[in-house]
């Protein structure tokens, strides 16, 4: 099928041509391929360090859902390029994704992925299964492999509420795709090692959404504590992490006041014990 550019003005027959696929990405690929974030271009030099990078994203399940949180920092090399970047996106009513790596490609990918899920839902009249959603994202990441090899790496973290299991599910990816389903919690990005270490000690099975949001705020602080590319809570500018909850009621992003509450409680406790909560030894 030719690109729409090849058709005389006003003729939009391809919109009414049924390809048999409910994928929006496939449709854009045939209709206007230049719009896709997944391109196979050869760059003269790798530009990895010169474009802003998104950093740490963490997610953890709780009883009946999943929480995802991301810090607000974007860096290019040693420069902080943005202090209030948003890296956790609602993808549909029951899922969200966070991105780490090249911020621009990641944001574009999240935008495409949202349309992809919605497009399927509208065409088919049903919501895609959680496994189906995770697989679609894997294909998208694999499509970016050529660019990833030249420094434009994007790695997402995907979290969704699965009505069949009445539980939250977390999927992680690598540059070549995936998905890898994770039990309990996972983290991506430069601060992920420290966040994962913190979560390992703080995670409690069957916790409430409220407790799990607090746990993630603690883990992000621990990541920011040890990783220069992860932003901690910006007290003077009042920039806090983004925290989103997905459960049976759907996706909701916690309000500014709610997150302020968690952060202030945490900061207060950290003034007394800077390393945060201490996990019991036995």
């Amino acid at each position: 099928m030719a690109s729409h550019r090849d058709l005389p003005a006003g003729l939009r027959d391809q919109l009414f041509h049924n390809t048999g696929s409910s994928s929006f990405t496939d449709f854009v690929g045939s209709y206007a391929p230049e719009l896709l974030p997944l391109r196979n271009e050869v760059l003269a030099t790798p530009i990895g360090d010169q474009v802003p990078h998104a950093t740490t994203i963490i997610a953890a399940t709780f009883a009946g859902g999943v929480v995802m949180a991301g810090d607000r920092r974007a860096t290019s090399g040693n420069i902080i390029s943005q202090r209030d970047v948003e890296k956790v996106f609602r993808t549909d009513d029951y899922s969200c994704m966070g991105i780490a790596g090249t911020a621009s490609t990641g944001i574009e990918m999240a935008r495409l992925y949202r349309v992809e899920l919605e497009h399927y839902e509208k065409l088919e009249g049903r919501t895609m299964s959680v496994a189906g959603k995770a697989n679609r994202l894997a294909t998208m990441i694999r499509g970016n492999l050529a660019m990833a090899m030249q420094g434009l790496v994007v790695v997402p973290l995907f979290a969704a509420y699965d009505p069949a299991a009445d539980a939250g599910r977390i999927f992680s990816y690598d540059v070549a795709g995936g998905p890898y389903e994770r039990e309990r919690f996972d983290a991506i990005g430069s601060g992920s090692i420290f966040a994962r270490g913190s979560l390992k000690k703080l995670y409690r099975d069957g916790a409430s959404a409220d407790d799990m949001a607090m746990t993630l705020i603690q883990a992000l602080y621990d990541a920011a504590d040890d990783d220069s590319a992860t932003g901690g809570p910006d007290v003077t500018r009042k920039i806090w992490p983004i925290v989103s909850v997905v459960d049976a009621d759907g996706f909701r992003r916690l309000s500014e006041e709610q997150v302020t509450g968690y952060v202030e409680r945490m900061l207060e406790a950290r003034l007394i014990s800077p390393d945060g909560p201490i996990a019991p030894l036995r």
């Binding site: 939009r12 049924n18 719009l35 919605e118």
Partner: protein, 260 residues
């Protein structure tokens, strides 16, 4: 002047096509679209759970159709592709009901002139705004004509009779349950029986919803909105004693069981 064998004037051809399409559309059941205080309500008697006559197109845009299922389904899918590609190319707020109505109009018009058979469909594209002034209801007919409707639209089946009943009962800024009552009264012939809840397809574009405004109303949520059977409003005085208008459409009644 001698005419070649089998000649038909262009006027005759167009008339025949239009008659053919009108007959096909009148064969089905009516669909009603009307404004209520929080947005736009779609009501369609439809026994089929699988074959929808009402659908979401985009954040603020809904779609309703009557006629041949396979034909309006193609329009619906094309509309979704149009909306998604434009929302992705520009911004979600740049997808408008007007743009979609124009796309449908140009396609319907072209098919009506170019093809032997025109599409046997009638379509409503409705868009909900931030306030009642921003709402828009566009009705498109098989030949590509666009009607910018104010407040309500009825199409398919005995569209004129339904439209008359709708006009008598419609008020501005009705609540959702009042608007649903009006729609059902308009869809029911005087003295006729209302379709049961299980055979109703109802959806709203609710301006107070976040992200996507379209919502299907089914099951208990719909039952709560419906007035109880014995409290159903009596028919307006004007219709009492009058002989009801002819109601049996030509041809088979569309019970939704066939996709055609």
């Amino acid at each position: 002047m001698s005419m070649p064998f089998g000649y038909a004037s262009p006027e005759q051809i167009m008339r025949d096509k239009a008659d053919y399409a009108r007959k096909g559309i009148a064969r089905g059941r009516s669909v009603v679209v009307l404004q209520y205080v929080d947005g736009i309500l779609f009501v369609a008697p439809n026994p089929s759970k699988a074959l929808h006559k009402i659908s979401e197109i985009y954040d603020r845009i809904g779609f309703a159709a009557v006629g041949r299922y396979n034909e309006f389904e193609e329009l619906r899918l094309g509309g979704i592709r149009y909306a998604d590609i434009n929302g992705y190319t520009y911004d979600r707020s740049d997808v408008t009901g007007r743009g979609l109505a124009n796309l449908y109009a140009s396609n319907l018009g072209r098919i009506f002139t170019d093809s032997i058979k025109s599409l046997e469909v009638e379509v409503v594209v409705a868009e909900v705004g931030d306030g009642p002034d921003g709402d828009a209801i566009y009705r498109l007919t098989f030949d590509g004509s666009v009607f910018d409707e104010h407040g309500f639209a009825a199409m398919g089946g005995q569209a004129e009779a339904v439209s008359t009943r709708l006009k008598e009962r419609y008020r501005e800024s009705m609540s959702l349950s009042a608007a649903l009552e009006v729609a059902l009264a308009a869809l029911t012939e005087p003295g006729g029986e209302r379709p049961p809840v299980t055979q109703l397809e109802v959806a709203v574009l609710d301006r107070n919803r976040e992200h996507r405004k379209f919502l299907r109303l089914t099951g208990s949520r719909l039952e709560r909105l419906l007035p109880s059977a014995d409290a159903s409003a009596p028919a307006p005085a004007a219709e009492e004693g009058e002989k009801p208008p002819p109601t049996g459409p030509e041809g088979d009644v569309d019970d939704g069981s066939s996709p055609l």
